[in-house]
Every structure is written in structure tokens, then in C-alpha cells.
Amino acid sequence: MKELRRNMRMVGVLLLCLFLGMGGWFGWSAYTQGTRWMSSGNNTRLNSARKDVTMGTITDRSGLTLAYSDINGERCYAADADVRWAMAQTVGDTLSMSGTGVETMHAGILLGFSGSIIDRTWQWLSGEETRGDDIRLTVDAELSAYIADQFPEGYNGAVALVNYQTGEILAMVSMPSYEPYKAGSRDVAESAYLNRCLQGKYTPGSVFKIVTMAAALENKTGVTQRIYTCEGSRLYGDVAVTCAGDTEHGDLTMQEAFTKSCNVTFAALSYELGGTEMIRQSEAFGFNDNFTFPDLVLYESSYPKDIGSIAELAWSGVGQARVLVTPLHMAMIAGCIGNGGVMMQPLLIDQVTGSTGIPRLRASGGVYAKPVSESTARTIGQYMKAAVEDGTGSRAAIDGYTVCGKTGSAEISNDKSVETHAWFVGYLEEKEHPYAIAVVVEQGGSGGDKAARLAGKALKKAIELVD
């Protein structure tokens, strides 16, 4: 009997753990994915609700209306055509063509599904028409419109601008864009619906050197003191890693290798660190994570888990091979360096207000990860500062402010027949303007040119506009 009781206690505890585990898992998945499940296109409730509920209003951070329902229940968008154009994928449209738009992703809030009991009772008591909740976004519409206007004519790409201390997304522009009133019509190209900031998986190229640098600083001592000799190329197996434009950098300090973006040096670092360490560090930055942020759908960035050859390992250190990243994630990485190694969870929704006018309590974003130590972040920050002051990123500099950044020119073909994607990622050092940015111009050539120039302009405008 005694033994039986002991066994029963054991199995009983196991059963209880199973119940707790399932409850916990259920809570976690419902909390992180509930909105996503609900906003699925297969949810017929939304369509029927759209008929009898007045959808809530979407405004930008300064209160400018981005979408609202008029007296007849018709959905209307921002009055200014430029704002409509710049914000199209962020706000979304009535047909859910831009699936990650707030109109679709947060339809539940706008239709009052997740409304509080207080709001529902209020509506019932006051005899008001059934109305969904209003959403105020963290983005600044004017800033977005400016960035869209300044985006190089005739190019595609994306710009993500975030506050690296809070995680708020201040601008999210994806080119080409579309007119929300024309969503679904033949005039709009299919690719315009894609929000490249969230859904565009790009080869990062040299901007990934931030991650490689972090891996080296976190693992090896005295990396900053090293001198590398670049002979323009180096063989890994039978594959050569070459520097852009076949430049021979000669003898380089670590900082020079970073500011001049020397591929040979960083390939050597990646090779020296090895696959395990590179995977660990990039995953600490959020690579290979199936992001489940409550405010937005951010596609997964990837660093190859199954590196096949030393050539692939070497090339991955300079952000080539099979490394892929989304622009918003890249802005988060740059912001993490600016924020002393602390990466914030991205926020898109500033406030939700029900019909009572009382803002709904929302869980603040908080810290997403701490991928590097403060000293590592400080060192990389110095290098990024130097890269803008006296390196590849000089065109991003702003008078009177300190821009820290890294350029990238990502090869997307093996034979250089296609122009490289131009990247610039960086941040403002001034803590009163804690903005981080990622710019990608598809086939825009060298990152130091179009991308860096646009990043400088966007950051300058952000300083002027965002309070």
C-alpha cells in the first residue's frame, strides 16, 4: 500500500503538470496568436460583422486620420493622397489585399470584437450604434509621406524607422505602393500589396557584419587590437571570398575593416568563430525566430542552421550565402546597438480607445532580447560612428547630430549581372532622438550612395517631426 501510494503521488503530480503545461501553452498561444487566428481570411464572422458594425478609426501618432467609416458605413482613407500612398501597406485596405495591414490584422479591434465589457455595456445603455474601437498608431504619417517622396525614383525597396528605446515604429514605407481606393483593381501590381518592411526577406550583405562583429567581440578577447591584411580575396575550399570592386585593402585595424567594409576580414572572422557560434549569435539577435509580436506580423529572418561548407560559413559572415533578413528586423538590430545591447519589441499600436473614450490598457512592448553586452554594443557603435564620419556611410551624416551606421551592397546574383541591393542601417546617438533606421533600395547599387543618402534625410526629418 505504501509503495502504491508513493507511485500514485508521482503519477498524480505528473498529471497535474500536464494540466498546468497545457493551460500554460494554451494561454501563451492564445495571447500571442489569438489576434492572428481571428483576423484570418477564413473568419466569416468578420465579414458579417462588417455589415452591422461601424469600424473604428485609425489615426497616426499625432492624431491625423488614416482610415475611418463615414455616415454610410463606407470606409475612407487619409485625405492627403501622399499619406495614403506612403501608408497603404501599413494601414491596409477593405479587401485585405495587404494582409498585414492594420485594417486586416487588427480587424478584431476595429470591429469591437475584443472590446471590453464596459464598452459593450456603455453602448447598450446609451443606445449608441454598435461601433468598434479606435486605434492610434505609433507611426508618423507626415514622416512616412516624406520618406516615400524622397525614395529614389523608379526603385523598389523599404524603409523602417523605429524608436530604439521604446520599440515604437515611427515610419514604415514600402515601395512600390498603391492607392487604397484602387485595391484589388487591375491598375495595382501584385507586389505593391507586400509590406516589404515586414514581409520582404532580403540578403543583408555587409549590414550583417554588425552581427559577425558582435559574435567576435563576445567570444574572442583582443579582437579590437588585431591587424588584418587584405589581399582582395581569399580562398575557402575552391570558393573565393572577394572584397567589393576587387579592392585590396592592405593592412587594416579592426575598426578600419568595419568602416571600409572589408569582406575578407569578416569572412575570416566568421570562419574563425565557426558555425555554432555564428548561429548562436545571430539567433540571439532574433534570426530563425518565428516572431510572435502582438502588434504586427514580422516574417522570420534566417541564418542557415545547416551550413554545408567552409565557403558558405565564410560568406555568411558577410551576410551573403543563405542569410535573409527583413528591413524592420535590421532596424531593430541597429537600434539594439544604439540602445546599449538591448533590443526592444516592435510596437505599431500606440493606443486603443473604446466608445467610452477611455484608452484600453495594453501590455507594453518591453525588451525582446539582449543579444550583446553593453561594452560590445559600445565598440560596434564606435565603429558605426566612424563608418559614417569617415567611411562608406558618409552620405548619411547630418549636421549637428551623430549618425552611426553601416552600409551594405548585397549581391543577389552569382555573376554580378544584377546590380546589388543597397542597404543602410544606423541610428542617432543622441538619446533625445533615439531613432534607428534600415533602408533597402532594391538593385540600388552601392549602399553608400542612394541608401545612405535617404537614411540621412529620413533621420533628419524624424528629428524635426517626431516629438
Binding site: M1, E3, L4, R5, N7, M8, R9, V11, G12, L15, L16, L18, F19, L20, M22, G23, W25, F26, G27, S29, A30, Q33, G34, T35, R36, W37, M38, S39, S40, N42, N43, T44, R45, S48, G108, F113, S114, S116, I117
Partner: protein, 437 residues
């Protein structure tokens, strides 16, 4: 002397502690408010709901009074089960397409209460359980194999028998639900004989034979339950970690084997892994369930205000998702807690049982119940692949309701036997105290 007195008062306290009135009151509050809400939801008012608003509390009081005055049963378990039954009737009234479904459920619950009383009487009267083993084994083998010969395929499994045919079907039964209880009695009886290797082996072989037949019938849910219950009870009785681990390993190997051998298993797993690939056909059910859960949010859409009817089998296999939509996620979690309380209460009954048979049986009843809950809720929320078991006491369906209530009857009976034995102990202690030797 003093130590003895303390023992006595502690014992008396323990007996009194199980006599709580609050849960009963809360259940009645739930029944009345929910049913009145549903009554005035429609115009003209829902008369059946109005009737139930009065009938349900009355029945609850009646059942509690009857059971507790006849036997010293565990009130908490009884109340929790009655609460789950109320949730069932309320939910079905709110979501079912016609008023027939909740009314049928009320009838099933009625039959279940009779089964519960029968369970209590049976286990209290049962003295020579060994004698029942062989006949029960035979009966369960016949019952479980019956659908192979006279059953029909239903939802991809052949585990139903129908009496009458076509539109004149009088009764459709799921034998595996009833055999479940028999299996528990047989296992407890065989395994309680500690010394006999032969009997313990017989128990395992019997469990395995049932599993084989269930495999032929493709009743995966019941198969998993039978298997786990057999293994767990075997471990409890023998403490033989090696053989238990080997058995679980064999089960795991069997699961992997089944994955490669049978298309329908592979398909279930594929749907579970990524339902979004085919949201309109194969993944439709689970996706609609997830959408329902997401739409309900924290506080739910409100009774009768959701659209859980989008989910195929919303009233049986997917009632948990429907509850999530109607009542909200917080309520659904608390519902899980109710099951956990029944399980914990059952385990404590098993711990205080006076003999191995009762201990094993009580533990088996709640293990089966708990595992069944975990399996179906896990399937509803896409934690594990879906298996066709129903949520005990809540999902619509007669076989499951009657057999689960019968099993709870056994548990309640054992709790009353324990209470009687405790009372005897107290009497004896008092007598000794009054008349020191």
C-alpha cells in the same frame, strides 16, 4: 492520552471539511443566470430555456441531497461534475441549431445520474471483485468487437453500433465508452493481486487485446486512452519501471509504425503540423476552431452571440473551442481547472482508499478522465493532433455521458466507503478513549 485526543479531533475535522456548501450555491447561480439570459435572447422567449432555468437548480439540489443523504460521498467531485453538466446544457442551448440537442443532452444527463447511482451502489456492494474479472473480460471483448461486425463507418472510424436502421435509428452506442469502465474494473481487480504474476500479465494482455481491436476500428482516441490507462495502472501496482518504460516505448514505436503504415494517421499529423496549407478542406475544422478561440478573446463573444457553428462537429469534438468563443478564454482555462480539481480530488480518494482494488480503481477513473480531457482539449487548441474523443460531461452524446457518470459513480462509491471506514476508526478511537485498556 493527549496525542490520541488530537488525532481524534483532526479526524473529525477532516470528515467535516468535505462538507462544503458554497460550490453548490455558485453552480445554481450559474445555471439560473445563464439560462435566463438565453431565455430572453430570442423573441418570443425561449420557453425551453425558461423551463431549464428552474428545473436545473431544482435537479441539482435534489441530486445533491439524494446522493449525500444516502451515502457519505465526496461533495466536491459531485458538484464539479454537476457544474460541467450545466456548462454542457447551457452551451448546447446557446449554440445548437435546434432545441432538440440540449433536450437530448438533458435526457442523457438524467441517464448518467442513474448510471452514477448504479456505480455507487455497485462498488459498495462489490465484495468479491476477483470473481467478476473473467466475465467482465469476456463481455468487454464481445462489446468492443461488435462494431466490426454490425457497425458503420462514422467520421473515419468504425466504433458505433446502431439499433434500428436509417431514419428509424432508436439508439446509437459507442461500445468503447462503456468498455472503458469495464477495463478499469478488470485492471484494478487483476493488478490488486500483488503476488500473482499471472494476474498482472493477464491485465496487460487484456489491455493490449482491446487496443488491437480498437486499431482495427480506427478509434485512435480510445486506443491511446486504453493504452495509457493500462500502462499507468500497471506501473502503480507493480512499481516496475523497466517493463513500464518498455511498454511506453513499444507504444511510441507503434505510434511511429502507425504513422508510416496508415494513411489516415499520416493525414491527421499533417493537418496538425500545418493546417493553414489547406484552410478550406482538410485544415478547415481545426482552423475554424482556432478562429473561434481567437474571436472569443478573453471574455468571449457572449452567450449565444458567437458563431461556433462554423466549426464542423462544434457540439461534440470541438465543443471546447465553441466554449472558448462563447464564454471566452478565461472561462475556458477555469474549466480546465475544474477537470484538474476532479482529478486531484480523485487521487486523494485513491490515496485514502483502504485496499489496493479501490485505490487502483479510483485512480484509474480519474486518470482516464484527465487523459481524455487533455487529449481532446489539446486537439482543439492544436497542441497535439486531433483524436476523436469527447470532452467528458460537456460534449453532446449519450454513450460518453452515461459511461463517464458511471465511472464517477464508482469513484464516489469508493469515497463513501473511505468515509465509512474513517467514521468507524473515529468510533473505535472514541471507544478506546472512553474505555482505556
Amino acid at each position: 492520552m493527549t496525542t490520541k485526543r488530537m488525532d481524534l479531533s483532526a479526524m473529525k475535522k477532516a470528515v467535516r471539511r468535505s462538507d462544503a456548501k458554497l460550490p453548490g450555491t455558485l453552480i445554481i447561480l450559474f445555471q439560473v443566470s445563464a439560462m435566463l439570459l438565453l431565455t430572453f435572447r430570442t423573441n418570443p422567449i425561449d420557453q425551453q430555456a425558461l423551463l431549464l432555468a428552474f428545473a436545473m437548480p431544482l435537479t441539482t439540489i435534489l441530486i445533491t441531497k439524494a446522493f449525500t443523504s444516502f451515502w457519505k460521498i465526496d461533495r466536491i467531485v459531485l458538484h464539479m461534475v454537476l457544474f460541467l453538466c450545466s456548462v454542457s446544457v447551457v452551451t448546447l442551448t446557446a449554440i445548437a441549431r435546434s432545441s432538440v440537442t440540449p433536450m437530448n443532452q438533458v435526457i442523457f444527463i438524467g441517464a448518467g445520474v442513474v448510471a452514477m447511482a448504479a456505480g455507487v451502489i455497485f462498488i459498495r456492494a462489490l465484495r468479491h471483485w476477483r470473481r467478476w474479472t473473467i466475465p467482465l473480460m469476456g463481455l468487454s471483448l464481445i462489446l468492443i468487437a461488435l462494431p466490426i461486425f454490425i457497425g458503420d463507418w462514422k467520421y473515419g472510424a468504425k466504433n458505433w453500433i446502431e439499433i434500428g436502421s436509417g431514419d428509424n435509428t432508436l439508439l446509437s452506442l459507442q461500445p468503447s465508452e462503456f468498455v472503458k469502465v469495464m477495463l478499469l474494473i478488470v485492471l484494478a481487480s487483476c493488478l490488486s493481486a500483488r503476488q500473482s504474476k499471472l494476474q498482472t500479465m493477464a491485465a496487460v494482455v487484456f489491455g493490449a487485446a482491446l487496443c488491437m481491436i480498437l486499431l482495427v476500428e480506427r478509434d485512435l482516441g480510445a486506443l491511446v486512452l486504453y493504452f495509457l490507462a493500462t500502462m499507468i495502472l500497471y506501473f502503480l501496482a507493480t512499481s516496475n519501471v523497466l517493463i513500464t518504460a518498455a511498454g511506453l516505448g513499444a507504444g511510441a514505436a507503434g505510434a511511429v509504425g502507425a504513422y508510416y503504415l496508415f494513411d489516415y494517421v499520416r493525414q491527421r499529423v499533417a493537418i496538425w503540423q500545418n493546417p493553414w496549407i489547406d484552410p478550406d478542406d482538410k485544415g478547415y475544422q481545426i482552423i475554424q476552431a482556432l478562429i473561434a478561440i481567437g474571436s472569443g478573446g478573453w471574455s468571449g463573444m457572449g452567450l449565444g452571440l458567437g458563431h461556433p457553428r462554423n466549426i464542423p462537429l462544434y457540439h461534440s469534438d470541438f465543443i471546447y473551442a465553441a466554449i472558448c468563443e462563447e464564454f471566452g478564454f478565461v472561462f475556458a482555462l477555469l474549466l480546465l481547472a475544474v477537470y484538474a480539481i476532479i482529478v486531484m480530488k480523485g487521487i486523494s480518494i485513491a490515496m485514502s482508499a483502504r485496499n489496493r482494488f479501490h485505490a487502483l480503481l479510483a485512480f484509474g477513473v480519474v486518470t482516464m478522465l484527465g487523459l481524455q480531457t487533455l487529449l481532446i482539449v489539446g486537439g482543439n487548441i492544436r497542441l497535439i493532433p486531433l483524436t476523436g474523443v469527447v470532452l467528458p460531461f460537456v460534449a453532446s452524446g449519450g454513450s460518453s455521458m452515461v459511461s463517464s457518470m458511471g465511472a464517477i459513480g464508482l469513484l464516489l462509491g469508493i469515497s463513501s466507503i473511505n468515509a465509512d471506514a474513517d467514521a468507524e476508526d473515529i468510533l473505535r478511537a472514541e471507544w478506546q478513549e472512553g474505555n482505556p485498556v
